[in-house]
Each structure stands twice: as C-alpha cells, then as structure tokens.
Symmetry: C2
Subunit: 408 residues, 2 copies
C-alpha cells in the first residue's frame, strides 16, 4: 500500500498509470449508496474522485458495524476517494464547487431532483462554466415523470422495478417475499451511472471539441432493465411471470435442499446424464431407471417426487459434506455461502478477493477486491487507500489543486 494521501497535506495523491481511468477527474455530490457506489467503481478503476460532503460528512459514514467508532463499510465505500467538505448553503461553498467542476471531467450526483438547480448549479449553469462536463444524475424515479418528487425509500426500485415480486416462494406461504438482502437497486443504478458516464467521456474525448452531456438514471428503470423477456411475454401473450422459489419451471431436478446442519444446498441435476449420476449417488437407482424420469419433461411432471428423494438424502448430511459427495460424481451444486464460507473458501483466497488494507482510522480492514481484473495489474493496486476522514483532502484540493490550475 502507498502512504495514505491524507497524511501529506497539500500533496497530490498517488496515481497508478496501470489503471485504465487514471487521469479522469470525477466530482461526487452524493450520499448513501447509489452515487457513491458509482464513484467507488470509477475510483477502483483509477479515476481521481473528489467526494464533496457537508461539514458533518455523508450520513452513510454512520451506517453499520463500527470499530474505534468508525463504520467499517465506509472504509470500503469511500476507498480511493478524496474527501472535501463544503457548505453548499453558502455562496463561498457553491463557488468552490463551481471551481472544482470547471476543472473536472464529470459529476455524479444523487440529491433529490431539483436540488442542484435550487443551489444555482443547474446543468445549464455548470455547462456554461465547463462545456465538457459529463453530469450523471441518479434518483429514485428519474428527473421527470409523475413520481419525480416522491421520496425514494430504499426498497422502492426493487419493489416497483419488478424484482421483489419474483424473489419469493410461490403460493400462499404466509411469509412476505424477502428483500434481496443488499441495496440492489442503488447498486444497479450506480453501476449504470458509472458505465454511462465513462461511455460519455469516451465519446466526448474522441474529439477536441467534444461536449459534455446530462445523464438521467433512476432506480426503478435500473431494476426493470433486468426483467429479461417478461415485458413482451405479458404484453404479447398475457403471461405474468410468477415467483418460482428455488425451483425452475422448465428443468428438473434443480432446487435447493435442506441439510443436516440447517444450511441449504443448491443442486442442478437436470441434464439426463447428471440426473443418473445424482440418483446413483443418493442410492435411488430405481428413479434413475424409472421410464417416467427418462426425459426432462417427465422429470418436470414428477419434480415433487424427485425433490423429496433428494431432500431425504441431503437431510442426513451437513451441507459441506453433501456438496463434496455430489461434486465427487460431477453433479453441479453449491451450498448457500455466508460470509464465513466465503472467507474460508480457497477460491476467494486464490483469486485475491480479500485484501488487507491499512486504515488509519480503524486498523487493518479486509476489503473485497474490485471484481474486474486487468492483465498485469495486481488486485491490491486497485485499493490505493481506504475511505478517508471527513475533509481529509481539503488542503490538497483547495490549497493545491485549485491553485495549480488557475485557468481551468
């Protein structure tokens, strides 16, 4: 790890020429998840990200478990970023933000629609100061439309985009469909914001006179974009996709089965050859030879009987042993990993997916590596420093960066 840039007031932070976005300057005017996740991805890819926070800091800094009074999630969520504080209620604060944006490639913001306009920082005003600025805006429902001004509570994208309806066991179980378990709609919108922002920069920079643009992303559409063929299935055929629990309607046996230790094992035993190996391993050669089960369509018609036979076997073993036994006969399967399973698995270790990062606020914090690997770039190079203290880079950004470049 290089030295923390917040330990050297006024000096430029380390940049790594091996990373693809080194040289791209992005200002984040974000809070909570969506915009900060977009800029975290850009920063992992090498961009210089300047996170503009109110003097009290992004409220996300208080989320989740803490060590030494600092939330461990922010060590990850804020990594590779420069933190500066500005009071945007004052003209001085807004003036400094305008000066930063005049020297930036892009802005990512997820304030409520209309908020930057009310501060005198409309896209038109920002483009007057910097015609090349790419402005990516993330909101719950978009910058127009009937719900623009509704508050976007966390689960809205998941519910309205169609995902939550599907993430459920079928029939009347009496239990509510579970949440996805992570901030999936914010994450998706953040990923789309990062992709469309870099795309706009690529298009702009092909041309010395290239202009910036404004990108409008909403959580609901980001989720809706993953609905596969379900829109024409409904509109052309009248079929409304229903939740399928852990099964698939068109392949059997494939389901998730209970094990002796209370854990679950997902098994994909639905090809003809794999099915025979699976039945032999669980001691049900009779089902392997049963003519009703010779084809996938027959197995689908008798899926409940097959699922019960498999579950009767999985219930006798802890999930890890059941997985080992099925993998030994080449039946694709996986138990449902919790975080301990991930950390202990040789895959995550061999792929350097857990990186120890020295965090001056917290100590050694294990970070998940960036998901993208570039030839010749070790994963550790993509985590240059952890989420910094609030305003840690005020001296560098306002004292050096803005002055170095007097004519933006």
């Amino acid at each position: 790890m290089p030295d923390m840039p917040d330990q050297k007031p006024g000096q430029a932070p380390p940049q790594d020429p091996r990373l693809p976005l080194t040289g791209l300057r992005v200002v984040e005017l974000g809070h909570y998840i969506a915009a900060p996740f977009a800029t975290r991805l850009l920063a992992d890819l090498g961009a210089e990200v300047i996170k503009v926070e109110p003097p009290g800091g992004d409220p996300h800094r208080d989320w989740g478990a803490r060590v030494n009074g600092h939330a461990v999630w922010f060590s990850i969520h804020g990594r590779n970023k420069l933190s500066v504080t500005l009071d945007l209620k004052t003209e001085e604060g807004r003036g400094r933000l305008r000066a930063l944006l005049a020297r930036a490639d892009a802005l990512v913001e997820n304030l409520r629609p209309g908020a930057i306009e009310r501060m005198g920082l409309s896209p038109e005003a920002l483009h007057a100061g910097n015609p090349r600025l790419v402005i990516a805006r993330v909101s719950g429902y978009g910058q127009d439309g009937p719900y623009r001004d509704k508050p976007a509570f966390g689960a809205i994208g998941e519910a309205m985009g169609g995902l939550r309806h599907l993430t459920a066991n079928p029939g009347q179980t009496g239990l509510p469909p579970p949440r996805c378990g992570v901030s999936i709609s914010d994450d998706l919108a953040g990923m789309y914001a990062a992709l469309s922002l870099v795309s706009a920069c690529w298009g702009r920079d092909r041309n010395p006179d290239g202009k910036g643009t404004v990108i409008d992303l909403d959580l609901v559409s980001s989720v809706f974009s993953l609905m596969e063929g379900m829109l024409p299935e409904f509109a052309m055929l009248g079929r409304v996709r229903q939740p399928m629990g852990a099964a698939l309607p068109s392949a059997a046996p494939t389901n998730t089965y209970p094990c002796a230790d209370g854990k679950w094992l997902a098994v994909a035993g639905n090809s003809d050859l794999i099915f025979r190996r699976l039945m032999a391993r669980i001691g049900r050669e009779d089902l392997a030879d049963d003519p009703r089960m010779a084809s996938n369509s027959g197995r689908c018609a008798n899926a409940a009987e097959l699922d019960e036979a498999i579950a009767a076997w999985t219930r006798t073993l802890p999930a890890r042993e059941a997985q080992d036994a099925l993998e030994a006969v080449e039946v694709p399967c996986s138990r449902l990993y919790d975080m301990q399973d991930c950390v202990e698995d040789p895959h995550f270790q061999a792929r350097d997916m857990v990186l120890p990062v020295e965090d001056p606020l917290i100590g050694t914090v294990p970070h998940p590596a960036a998901p993208f690997r570039f030839q010749g770039v070790p994963p550790a190079a993509m985590v240059r420093w952890p989420g910094p203290a609030v305003g840690a880079h005020n001296d560098y950004v306002f004292g050096s960066l803005l002055k170095q470049e007097d004519t933006p």
Copy 2:
C-alpha cells in the same frame, strides 16, 4: 424506427452520432446471458456489436416464450447487434474471426476458460494481430483459481457470492431461500464487463500508442462485490450477516404486509413523524401515543406488535387501495409490482420505458428502454433494431466491412 439493417444486404447499418459509443466496434463471442448482456448494453449505448454465432445460432435464441416460433427475449437480448455465423471448428472460420478482431476495438467472450486458447485465439495471438484490442473475458469462477474448470451452472454466483444466503426469511421456515428471480449474477458480471471494457478503451484512446489489455471477470466476484460491509463485519467482529426477510433489524416499522387480494405492500413507516401518520391512518392512535413507541429503538423492540397492527389493516384492502390510502398521508410504500403493474403504471409510460419495436420475425414487440437517458437523445433512438435472424449480417460484415478495410 429506421429500416432494419438486415433488409439491406451489404449496406452498413444505421449509426446515430448522438449515442456516446458510436464508432466503437465490439465483437461478441458469447452465448446465453453474461457476455451478450454486456454487449447489449454497449450496443444500446451506440457501439457497433458484431455477434459471432455458430451456424445453429446462440442457444439462448430458444429460451423462453415464443411468438411465430421466435423467442421474444432474444428480440431484446440481441437488439442493435449484427449477427454473423462462423464455424470456429474450421480454419476458415477462425481466420475470418481473426480478421474481424484485427479491425475491432474490443472482444467480449464467455466461453469456458481455455476455450479460445484451444482455438488458437489466445489473447497473445490476438494481440499479435491487433495490439489495441481490449479483451473482456467472463466466466463462472475466473480464468485462474481452483474452480476455473468447474462447470458454472446458473445459480452459482448468487449462491457462492453470498447473495442467496441473504435473500431469505429468517429462522427455520422449512422453505428454501428463493432465487433472485432473474439471472442476477450473469447480469452483474455483464455490467462489470461493459464498464471495465469502456474504461480500458478510454485509457487506451488517450494515447495514439495505447495498448489493449485482457480483463478477467467472474460471476462469483461480481456478486461478492455487493456485500457492503459484511466482509470486515465478519473478519473484524465475528458477525456473520443473517437473512432478514422483509424487515430491517435497525428500523421499525418497516416491513412487507399482506393485502386482501393476495398481493403485498412494502411500507417504510419508521421515522418518528411518518410513524404517527401511519398509525393515525390505520386507526391506531393508541400506538402513536404509546410511550414505548416514541423512539425507533422502542419500536424495534416492539416490532412484532406494530407489524401485526399494520397487517390487520392491510388485510382489509386490496394492495393498490392500501397504497393509495397510505400515500395520501405521505407514508412511503409500494406494492410489489408484477409485469402487469409495471405496464399499467403512469411512471413507466411517462418515462417511455416501454418502446414498441417492429420485429420482422415476430411483429410489434414491446421492448424495455435502456435504463440510461442522455440529454437530447430520445429513448427510442437507443433501440435501433431488434435481435436479428442468425447470420442476418453475414453479407454486410464479410462482403463489405472486411473488404472496405483491407489494411486493418
């Protein structure tokens, strides 16, 4: 809609200079979901995507509901792409692919690790022919590591990356944790492939001597990257995040409640002021005034009692009426939309999220619009044509494009 490019053999397909990736040429050597989803996003953004298929076509073309014998999903999944067929078992086929890649900016592939090497198309060989080529490789477990050669069945990333463990009701319900309901791990890996590919092109194209690279993405890491602060929570504090169903452990009342029509309503009633409005609306002023419920911590301690009070009210109304009643008093809520709810909602209409597309194979197919909106670009401009017939662009690509540019 412009004319379908497959109706004009040998002519270049229409390009739209308003789209950010117009001028970027990407070859897809993909099948099923992950790589084709990456290239669908790039194509929506304006890239020229050449999908290389075996003579029988990508098996994804057979997935899901059909009209006129053609799967409606592929109309979406293959949109804006050029389809060419090549038999890569022959030297002629491989030679044509090499010639295409010599003229391309990027390749996206999701064959099994080692497959392109066995065809003599290793990254080294491809870079010998085109040093600027950006090669994005997507696989279940990555291009190295202990599981590289294991078959990647669909649900693997969701299970091993930690998501499936979380998407569940807590405790021993007897029901398996449901699938996410869409191909989430493929989608995430595809989105990361698109983002890292465009980033690599931006970095390369800043410099006339810029070189290509190889990007390695796996489904498991793509899911794992969304696990928020859970890795340090476990490694530093010994806490293993457990599924929470539809509730949140740190805020109450916020849950998902059953309605009279069998549908569900997600309600976020957990701020002090919203809680009072919610209780008043459901006729439980006694709970609004109950000193045990005055703070969020007190409400969390008594969440079961609050949830039962809210459910007793929601069970008396269809979900849409319950939603309208709560929104009238500004309580954030949303029923869990199915595809019919989406299509009928004014938001999706006002935001042009459902686009009618003329598909010569199927008729008028409603497509979900691209999730990103660019200033001055109507959403319909991002769907230039629907998924084409297998090999529809062989004449243009092999007859014109390869010949137009004899010196790549």
